[in-house]
């Protein structure tokens, strides 16, 4: 007996799953009581790993045998088990070996052989004492494993549902001249029950949909997918928003699960005229932010999917340039603050009233909502917003007569090394009153100095009889500094863009930065070759419109 027991004990020290443990328990029991038949009466998740023979009654946790085994967890002949147990009768057993660990009934081995030796019974008792806790723990681990797998499957399914649902939302909003459409959508769970849609219709028409299913997560998303299809189909067949909702309602009533419904705002916008016709199946009333302030666009109607044969009121406005319609789901209005107060529609109206109608209204509303809800807010419901803005008409561009050039200063400097700083200082002094930033002044200084240096060195070759001429002219909002030399030897070479890598590698001269710098320092550089020499004109755009100073 002993070697079997030692082997079993050693085996239990190694990690084993439930099926392995039960299998090994069976092996050792059969080895100890051979050749008698032994069956295992236990919860089905444990007995399924036992190689069964004979008729085993279904496990019944309420059978008195279970309570008895927990109270007396030792191996006994059948005659010493004084309980009226249907299982015990059906098992037709000679000896029972209860497996109990920490008060949990793990199972009961029924051995049909009754004439077991005391040594066999003691060994079985010891086996049961070793096996019961091991099986209990392995069973627990198995259950956790199953639960984790189920959780992973659910998470994966939700992720797929989210991908499908996202694919039902518009990938991008139409870009229509004179209009700005924006939308924002955030589900409370991985998968949401809100829906928005923008449907291009023939002509200049555009349908705008915002819906909210009465449930959340996957069931709501499935219903919203159906609603989207029904609305899209109806919008192609009928023209008026009320008719679209009525038709979608009739179709949905036949398909929606009991107890569910969908609120839905539906509008048709004529982007040519700004005509905006709408109907509403119980969704939050959108706001018009127009010349008369903030107005509610109300139209009554039953939510979709409750009762067939409903009709829907229609409303109509014209979106004038500079007006916005903003639609939102109740996830926004029903946001609660930490004290439990609801965000409501008044805060929305107040926020919109303070804003420019064409400003980004959605971010502004979300910011106010976030502030109201506080940092520890957990989103309760899906939040969806759509804004439709008719942009202000651009003001006609007024043709301006070119301003008269005004000469500010004319002077010259000698062609000598380092003369450029004198010239540049003088230019800056001459333009001191002009509207230039500090950066523009420093850049003009550098550009002038570099150009004068080139004129003196490369144009005039530092000849004392040739000077560098400088003329400062303002024309409207442009400042021109014309720098001339007396070089009649041909055009100024093209700028070769200096490359620091090539210079460091010795492939270009370390010098040669002058013309490059001049071009970078001012808004425009023009070079004129004249019979008397070169003229380089540096142009800087002034910061004010002409006549402003």
């Amino acid at each position: 007996m002993r070697p079997w027991l030692d082997l079993f004990r050693a085996r239990l020290r190694e990690p084993a799953d439930l099926s392995t443990l039960v299998h090994e328990l069976e092996q050792i029991v059969r080895a100890v009581v051979q050749p008698a038949n032994a069956v295992f009466w236990a919860p089905p998740d444990i007995t399924q790993h036992w190689t069964v023979s004979g008729n085993i009654p279904a496990f019944a946790p309420e059978d008195p045998l279970v309570a008895w085994a927990i109270a007396y967890p030792t191996t006994r002949p059948r005659a010493q088990v004084p309980v009226n147990s249907p299982a015990l009768v059906a098992l037709d057993t000679g000896v029972v070996v209860p497996l109990v660990s920490l008060g949990t009934f793990v199972g009961l081995i029924a051995i049909q052989e009754s004439a077991l030796s005391a040594d066999q019974i003691a060994t079985l008792d010891e086996i049961a004492g070793l096996a019961a806790p091991a099986i209990r723990v392995a069973r627990l681990a198995h259950r956790i494993d199953l639960a984790e797998r189920a959780h992973q499957t659910t998470a994966e399914e939700l992720r797929v549902a989210e991908i499908i649902q996202r694919s039902l939302l518009p990938e991008s909003l139409p870009n229509i001249a004179g209009w700005q459409l924006d939308a924002w959508y955030k589900p409370a769970r991985v998968v949401g029950g809100d829906l928005y849609d923008i449907i291009p219709l023939p002509g200049d028409l555009l349908a705008i949909v915002l819906g909210d299913a009465s449930d959340k997560s996957v069931p709501a998303a499935l219903v919203m997918a159906t609603v989207r299809t029904l609305i899209r189909a109806a919008a192609q067949r009928v023209v008026l928003p009320g008719q679209v909702l009525a038709r979608a309602n009739d179709d949905l009533c036949a398909q929606i699960p009991p107890g569910m419904f969908v609120t839905c705002f539906f509008a048709i916008l004529d982007t040519a005229s700004g005509r905006f016709r709408f109907a509403n199946a119980g969704q939050c009333a959108p706001n018009l932010c127009g010349p008369n302030g903030v107005e509610e666009l109300s139209a009554s109607g039953w939510p979709l999917g409750m009762l067939p044969g409903r009709t829907y009121d229609e409303g109509e406005i014209t979106l004038t340039p500079g007006s916005t319609v903003i639609c939102f789901s109740d996830g926004l209005t029903e946001t609660h603050d930490p004290a439990g107060e609801m965000f409501g529609t008044n805060r929305i109206t107040a926020t919109l009233a303070e804003m420019d109608n064409c400003a980004p209204l959605i971010p502004a509303l979300l910011a106010v909502q976030q502030e109201f809800a506080g940092p520890s807010w957990e989103q309760e419901d899906d939040v969806t917003l759509i804004s439709v803005t008719r942009l202000p008409e651009p003001e006609p561009i007024q043709e301006e007569a070119p301003a008269e050039p005004e000469t500010i200063s004319v002077f010259s400097v000698p062609s000598a090394p380092d003369t450029e700083r004198v010239a540049a200082d003088q230019v800056l002094a001459a333009v001191a009153d002009l509207p230039l930033t500090d950066s523009q002044r420093q850049r003009l200084f550098t550009a002038t100095a570099e150009t004068v240096m080139n004129a003196a060195e490369h144009g005039n070759h530092f000849r004392q009889d040739l000077s560098v001429g400088i003329e400062i002219i303002r024309q409207g909002n442009r400042l021109h500094v014309r720098i001339s030399d007396g070089d009649r030897g041909g055009p100024i070479p093209e700028v070769v863009t200096p490359n620091i890598d090539a210079k460091l590698a010795g492939l270009q001269s370390p010098r040669g930065w002058g013309l490059f710098l001049i071009e970078k320092m001012v808004d425009q550089v023009e070079v004129l070759d004249t019979p008397t020499g070169h003229i380089v004109e540096l142009t800087v755009n002034l910061n004010e419109s002409p006549g402003a100073d």
Binding site: R443, M453, I500, L504, P510, R511, G514, F516, L517
Partner: protein, 119 residues
Amino acid sequence: MSEATITTVVRQVSPTISVIDIGGSVTRAADQALTNAYHEASGDKTRAIILNFANLEYMNSSGIGLLVTLLVRANRQSQQLYACGLTDHYRDIFSLTRLDEAIHIETDEAAAIAAAEQR
């Protein structure tokens, strides 16, 4: 007309780091002075040379050419060049010319020394 002049002061701030204080004008006339200062700053153990431009008055394209020449020398000797104390305008020029990719720019000398010590 007086020629623009450069002033240079060389300081060794650690066995491996030297600082050249550059004042006045960095133009073509500064060539010799800058070369001398570089040689003075560059010892056997020198790994980093910091050009401190806090007192710079003027630098033109010829001056930029001189810095490129210094860079070539420093690269040959496996030394790093740092620049500090540049005004926004000259930082702008270092950026336009991409000099700032070859010379490490720091706001002040302490930052340049700290950066040089970390390398």
